[in-house]
Amino acid sequence: MGGRRSFFVVTMMAFGFAFLYVPILSMIVYSFNESRLVTVWAGFSTRWYAALLHNEQLLDAARLSLRIAVVNATGATLLGTLAGLALARFGQFRGRALLSGMVTAPLVMPEVITGLSLLLLFVALEQMIGWPAGRGVTTITIAHITFSMAYVAVVMQSRLAVLDESLEEAAMDLGARPVKVFFLITLPIVLPAVLAGWLLAFTLSWDDLVISSFVAGPGSSTLPIVVFSKVRLGVSPEVNALATILVLIVALGIVVAGVYLQRQERRRERDVQQALAARG
């Protein structure tokens, strides 16, 4: 590899990462700006954080979003894990193509279509059987579970695909029934993937604006809906403060996870070396 080429790659990387992070950093910096005019620097201040803490509309929306995201993540993880298990482990069963198609389709479906179709379903259901009565938290949660379970299913399917099937066969061979095999062997081994799926579903729900907008009712405005209506009117320093807090939480979570993973990796390496040394 010539020096010129790697110079090109390094330049592109520097540019790429700057591109990704300058907007986030600018948001963080401006969240500490005294001025209401966001982009004109008028000195350091934390007043927008204080304002955020007293903005009941944003706080209520955040609480609602959190509640929906947790319920959604749990439901989506349950359903998605079942679907992933069926796709990865049950071989060719009748209806496999249908299930597989329904699991991948939400991933490529434009959000506006998913949102519209779910709303029309809820309206039709209400007309026919009276449920769900109106739109609100329930309809948002159902909608979120529907599209995020697909992501979980894909995560689980790909994790199970690389899990040595003979582990499950060995457990069965040693006398464990299939349900027990799942809980004693499969689940503990793929637990990290399950957690990753849960977090993914949580984030998707927490972040969703378009689908929620379609299926939300009066009084069930999630955080993205409120933020969207605010920023549509222009830049808002409180939103900067909110964004900063969210970025910091995510960054902290990722750093903790990263450190934990690195420690595990190191321990693993040490173990392997120990095993090689104690070989006999």
Partner: protein
């Protein structure tokens, strides 16, 4: 078929009782593909039975049907008098040692070995003693608290063995048990495996593609090809009395000559082989019509090579020229070109340390000869 080879021992007991494991007309199809084709096989109590064949010959499918992971398309499996064909793996008195060992990565060595006993709700104290005894047997007791990734390949193999033996299965299935070990460790482990089997008296069915492994481990070998069992016999039977060109060629190396039966007596036959440019005089009878096309299999180590013509009559000897020599240390391999153009492979043990002057060399004219008891005639 040749018919004067040693009688195969009867598979049923002398009193006519049923064999320990009986596979009857077992067939497994995956769609159109026939993985196992109408196999009938008997396995005796306490033996090490090796299923030997190239990859894709159906040996693993056969093993998985014994374990219960695959349902046969047709046919039945009986173990110790009980029909287990429809039983799920968790209800069969059979355990398996997997090629990948399949040790549960989130459990310690001890927990891995105890897993099977826990499923049977064996009392805790009994589990502890039996696990300890089993780990002692495989010399892994001091590693009881380790996780699988903290073990070397050989140690993992021993844990897998302990885990599959601790339930005292009626039948232990081993899928390529030594394939993941390096060569030195493999040779050592072969004998260890035999020792453990003799200590416990458990019946082993081993699947392997490695003929050396099969020859070392097995009391009997079943050679498989295209889903069928071609020949069943002791390692000696299989090597010395192959029943077909396939088996002769698959086990060890062999010189095969096509020929025509020209003399057929009860205690000997003569076969004219155009490629040899001479006649084989074979010291056993053959059940084939005179004039039939047969094949003569002659192992390289059973051929004498000499500079001077051997004494005696004209059969079982041929002249040629050395075309290739490979010195392997314990033995030398010669390729000798006959007048017909056919190459014959000959191996000679290097009994005496030879100076390079005494050795045969390239393009040297030589004579090949063999005893009437050495070649085998196969008809298929």
């Amino acid at each position: 078929m040749s018919n004067t080879r040693p009688e195969q021992r009867p598979e049923a007991g002398p009193d006519g009782t049923e064999p320990y494991v009986r596979l009857e007309r077992l067939t497994k199809k995956f769609g159109e593909f026939v993985a196992v084709d109408d196999v009938t096989l008997n396995i005796r109590r306490g033996e090490i039975f090796c299923l030997l064949g190239a990859s894709g010959c159906g040996k693993t499918t056969l093993l998985r049907m014994l374990a219960g992971f695959e349902q046969p398309t047709s046919g039945s499996i009986r173990i110790d008098g009980v029909d287990v064909t429809a039983l799920p793996p968790y209800e069969r008195p059979v355990n398996m040692m997997f090629q990948s060992y399949a040790l549960f990565p989130h459990m310690t060595v001890e927990q891995n070995v105890a897993f099977g006993l826990r499923q049977d709700r064996v009392p805790r104290a009994a589990i502890r003693t039996r696990v300890a005894a089993m780990l002692e047997l495989v010399r892994m007791r001091e590693f009881a608290r380790r996780k699988p990734h903290q073990l070397s390949g050989g140690q993992r193999q021993r844990v897998a063995l302990a885990r599959s033996l601790v339930k005292q299965p009626k039948l232990l299935l081993l899928d390529e048990p030594l394939a993941a070990l390096d060569k030195k460790l493999r040779q050592h482990t072969q004998f260890e495996l035999i020792n453990i089997q003799e200590t416990l008296g458990v019946t082993f069915v081993v699947v392997t593609h490695d003929q050396e492994e099969a020859m070392t481990l097995a009391t009997r070998i079943g050679v498989m090809n295209h889903g069928e069992i071609i020949q069943v016999g002791t390692p000696t039977d299989i090597y010395e009395y192959p029943n077909s060109r396939f088996v002769a060629d698959f086990i060890g190396s062999v010189n095969l000559f096509e020929g025509r039966l020209i003399e057929d007596e009860p205690d000997y036959v003569r076969v004219a082989a155009p490629e040899l440019g001479g006649v084989f005089h074979v010291g056993h009878g053959v059940s084939a019509a005179p004039g039939a096309t047969v094949w003569v299999a002659l192992r390289p180590e059973k051929i004498q090579i000499s500079r001077t013509a051997p004494d005696g009559a004209g059969d079982n000897r041929v002249a040629g020229v050395v075309s290739e020599i490979a010195y392997l240390g314990d033995q030398s391999v010669y390729l000798v070109r006959l007048a017909t153009g056919r190459q014959v492979r000959v191996t000679q043990p290097n009994i005496v340390r030879q100076s390079s002057a005494g050795r045969l060399t390239w393009d040297e004219p030589v004579w090949l000869s063999w005893e009437p008891g050495s070649p085998v005639v196969v008809t298929q």
